[in-house]
């Protein structure tokens, strides 16, 4: 059975240090929800408050309509997956997975059925009798996952579960996690600092910084329409350039670019967030920003250019690799045009996205 989760005016303090000042958040039933942010942003703290391992200094957490503030972790019906897996080293795989059910005094027969079924789903059936020390990181992760979901929790909580795995295994495991979560439909809160991982698994993502939620949206919106400069720079790569704006014209290093939308008229100095793929590069002067190639990186599908602009700023540009043409050599003079319809324009403090139109 899955639940809605509601965080209402959450306050977290360690001594006199406020870690989360006032946070409210609604997570839908069955949703795969990710808390994403740099380390120290409060994401793990928030997760552990939901789990019951961290005290709640203010506000309320509800599972459906049930207030859980004062319930012990064992009474919340949660499944938790830890960063270091927290597999009990003195129990074999079967006993680890059965642990939660044993505590609930489920009959032995039923435990055996449930554990075997889940071991098959996470594909570690053949390691049932092994001790954890004889398992690889990925296998331990599967045990941890099986142990968390076999108790049919209302909520699945995962604290950076993939951060101890190598890059390839991380990709395999995140697909496995996503698949299993979808199969069971458990409301899931997932904490990570890896944005690609977050994009890959999440239905929705909350970007956190300094205990404050910066934006909650589906991955595509987070990437393409970030609320503020922090989100724009934290998610994906971007170039931040200072510009002046007058009506629908952007003035950048003396170059003018026309812009489809009208910005609030009181803004003259703005910051542009231009993703590497939102630049068009050419070695012929068709107008645009003049720059010089510093170096290039060929990565197969795409080619990255690092270019110094006339004012000395370095920008990164990505172009779909072409067949039959050589890369621009270092020191080549190039001109950059901008996909003005898709770039994001922020006020000079970087706090508001001006290009979102009237809904800001």
């Amino acid at each position: 059975m899955s639940v809605r989760i509601k965080f209402k005016n959450i306050l977290k303090k360690y001594g006199n240090t406020v870690v989360i000042p006032d946070l409210s958040l609604d997570i839908k039933e069955g949703e795969f929800f990710t808390l994403l942010g740099p380390s120290g942003c409060g994401k793990t703290t928030l997760l552990r408050m939901a789990a019951g391992f961290n005290s709640i200094e203010g506000g309320e957490i509800y599972f459906n309509d049930k207030l859980i503030n004062n319930l012990s972790p064992g009474e919340r019906n949660i499944g938790m997956v830890f960063q270091n897996y927290a597999i009990f080293p003195h129990m074999n795989v079967f006993k680890n997975v059965a642990f939660g059910l044993t505590n609930r005094k489920v009959p032995k027969q039923k435990i055996e059925e449930a554990v075997n079924k889940i071991l098959e789903i996470v594909q570690i059936q053949e390691y049932k009798d092994r001790m954890p020390e004889n398992l690889s990181g990925g296998q331990q992760q599967r045990v941890a996952l099986a142990r968390a979901i076999v108790i049919e929790p209302d909520v699945l909580l995962m604290d950076e579960p993939l951060s101890n795995l190598d890059a390839k295994l991380r990709v395999d495991m995140r697909n496995a996690i996503k698949g299993i979560q979808r199969k069971f439909g458990i409301t899931t809160i997932y904490v990570t600092h890896d944005q690609e991982e977050a994009m890959a698994v999440s239905d929705r993502i909350a970007i956190m910084n300094k205990g404050i939620i910066q934006q909650v949206d589906v991955p595509q919106t987070i990437y393409q329409k970030p609320n503020n400069l922090f989100v724009a720079t934290f998610i994906g790569r971007t170039n931040v350039l200072a510009a002046k704006v007058s009506k629908n014209t952007l003035i950048l290093n003396g170059c003018e670019f026309t812009f489809g939308k009208t910005l609030p008229s009181d803004q003259t100095n703005v910051l542009l967030s231009i993703r590497p793929e939102e630049f068009f590069i050419s070695n012929e002067n068709k107008g645009g920003l003049k720059g010089k190639i510093e170096h290039s990186v060929f990565l197969g599908l795409n080619t990255h250019y690092f270019i110094t602009l006339a004012n000395g700023q370095e920008v990164e540009v990505i172009e779909r690799s072409k067949h039959g043409t050589a890369l621009f050599a270092p020191k080549t003079e190039v001109w950059l045009n901008i996909d003005t319809e898709n770039i994001n324009i922020f006020d000079k403090a970087g706090l508001r996205n001006l290009s979102l139109g009237g809904n800001v």
């Binding site: 391992f53 919340r76 927290a86 003195h90 108790i151």
Partner: protein, 548 residues
């Protein structure tokens, strides 16, 4: 592994240390074995037969078993909860308590015995107080009970320190995982924490077992009719009437065989139950509320009071006025004056002998640790086993072995200072070797390889790179070795002469003679030296505990 087969200076270290161990440990133990089967000069097993024929003799085995197993069990039952409480619940003054626990363990056990006699003995203050005011007789402290109380309180800190160390390696996520699945409280301790620290509990228990088995001073003072094996060995070997070296040797051989089998069984169990754990986030110390908090505090406070009481009382009595052998009303420094004038040389002896032994220990421990960790081979394995032998061989047996082996030329060492230093060094080497090995396992070999790749020679690399990295571990082991040399009694009581008498021996003989004032003054001075040592160690390392 650094492969420099030619000109490997460590080869000579391996040979050298093996020869030292062969001459000064294995040869004496073998001499003992030979002696046990040569009663009266001809081959035979009559010494063993004599032992089993008379209840007066084999009864001591039963007594020793009873004491050793009871002390081990009681110690574990007391120390594990204390370690668990201090590592999970916030206890007021816990850092002071930890230092007191350490202090309570570093005095000689027989000083505890003698303090308890002063308190609860037939004419002890507590006994007299209850008798005179309430006309109640307090439980008899002599015999088995006394030995059990004294040794349990004395040895509890060993298990405490082991278990405390192990609890710090248990990651809190394991605890949280179990709590999130509804396993809490006592159940959590039994199903999760207990099994995880079981190997450590066993290791601590083994140490306690060996100490309890080997302890000589406590049963001698407080045991009265309750004779244990070390007492038997001592009296048989030393007494003028029944002097029977072969018999003492036979008993020693049986004890060593028994101790070795216990050691091996423990190893076997501990090996099967050992888990690798890496603690990202150790368990948190939390504030408890209500009755649980009160009980936890009470438990810890009562324990530490009982553990430290003997030493406090001894220090108190050292300032009492004496008249002859009796304490009288009023305070004075008489006892100190008597101590300095009568046995002042023992203080100087202690420093000379202990420092010499310590120097040998430090040098050998560093070298042996290096070769056993960095040059694993059959030979270094043998060396490793040899260095651990003194853990198993009780002090009185080592003393007899040394006397048997070195009482004739070319190695006539008996009655010299060398034999005292030798026995201290052999007995207390394992502490420093262990801690040096432990730290060397953590020192990456890559830094040594880097130094060699940059052109430093083997010796220079060791002196400039490896040794500085090892020092903290060497130091903490050396402190343990030093403190335990200061309180060594069971071997030195057999080996000393009037010229090599140490403070601990002086205290023991003064207690036997009934000069409680002098004994108290001397043991206060000894406690003072201990405290100063610990303070210097804490200051040097910035730590607040000794890791075992």
């Amino acid at each position: 592994m650094i492969e420099t087969q030619k000109k490997d200076m460590w080869k000579w270290v391996i040979y050298g240390s093996l020869i030292l161990y062969a001459v000064f440990l294995l040869y004496p133990l073998l001499s003992l074995l030979v002696k046990s089967v040569l009663p009266g000069g001809s081959f035979g097993f009559s010494s063993f037969g004599k032992f089993f024929a008379n209840k007066f003799y084999y009864g001591t085995v039963i007594n020793s078993m009873l004491v050793t197993f009871s002390v081990t069990i009681c110690t574990v039952l007391l120390a594990v909860p204390i370690a668990y409480i201090l590592n999970t619940i916030k206890i007021k003054f816990s850092s002071t308590i930890q230092i007191l626990i350490l202090l309570s363990s570093v005095s000689a056990p027989f000083i505890g015995a003698y303090a308890w006699i002063l308190l609860l003995g037939r004419s002890g203050v507590v006994t007299q107080f209850f008798k005179q005011t309430f006309n109640i007789s307090t439980p008899d402290i002599y015999g088995f009970t006394g030995i059990l109380v004294v040794l349990t309180l004395q040895l509890c800190p060993l298990v405490y320190m082991y278990v405390s160390g192990a609890l710090k390696t248990v990651d809190s996520s394991l605890i949280e995982a179990s709590e999130s699945m509804g396993c809490t409280g006592i159940k959590k301790m039994l199903k999760i924490v207990g099994p995880l620290i079981l190997p450590t509990i066993l290791a601590g228990a083994l140490l306690v077992f060996m100490r309890a088995l080997a302890d000589f001073g406590t049963p001698m003072l407080i045991g009265e009719g309750f004779r244990t094996i070390p007492v038997l060995i001592f009296t048989e070997f030393i007494s003028e009437m029944g002097e029977d070296d072969s018999f003492a040797a036979a008993v020693s051989v049986m004890v060593v065989v028994f101790a070795t089998s216990v050691f091996l069984v423990q190893k076997l169990i501990a090996k099967r139950k050992a888990y690798k754990m890496s603690s990202l986030r150790p368990m948190q110390i939390k504030e408890e509320k209500g009755i649980k908090n009160v009980l936890a505090h009470l438990f810890v406070y009562v324990y530490i009071l009982l553990a430290i009481l003997p030493q406090l009382y001894v220090i108190y009595t050292s300032f009492l006025k004496t008249s002859g052998k009796i304490f009288v009303k009023g305070y004075s420094l008489q006892s100190y004056a008597a101590a300095f004038s009568k046995v002042g040389d023992s203080i100087i002896n202690t420093f000379i002998l202990a420092l010499s032994a310590l120097a040998i220990i430090i040098v050998l421990a560093i070298l042996i640790a290096y070769v056993t960790v960095r040059r694993p081979s059959a030979l270094t394995n043998l060396l490793d086993v040899s260095t651990m032998l003194p853990y198993i061989v009780p002090g009185s047996i080592l003393g007899i072995a040394l006397l048997t082996a070195f009482n004739k030329p070319p190695l006539l060492l008996s009655a010299t200072a060398i034999i005292m230093i030798l026995s201290f060094a052999i007995r207390r080497l394992p502490y420093t070797i262990r801690s040096s090995c432990a730290i060397l396992h953590q020192v990456s070999i890559a830094s040594e390889e880097a130094a060699i790749s940059l052109g430093a020679g083997q010796f220079k690399t060791f002196m400039r790179i490896t040794l500085p990295a090892m020092l903290p571990g060497v130091l903490s082991g050396a402190v343990l070795s030093w403190l335990s040399i200061l309180t060594e009694l069971s071997a030195s009581i057999l080996l000393y002469t009037i010229a090599t008498r140490t403070m601990t021996i002086a205290i023991y003989t003064e207690v036997l003679r009934g000069n409680y004032g002098t004994a108290a003054a001397l043991s206060s001075i000894l406690s003072f030296i201990t405290v100063i040592t610990l303070l210097i160690f804490f200051r040097l390392t910035g730590k607040k505990e000794l890791s075992m």
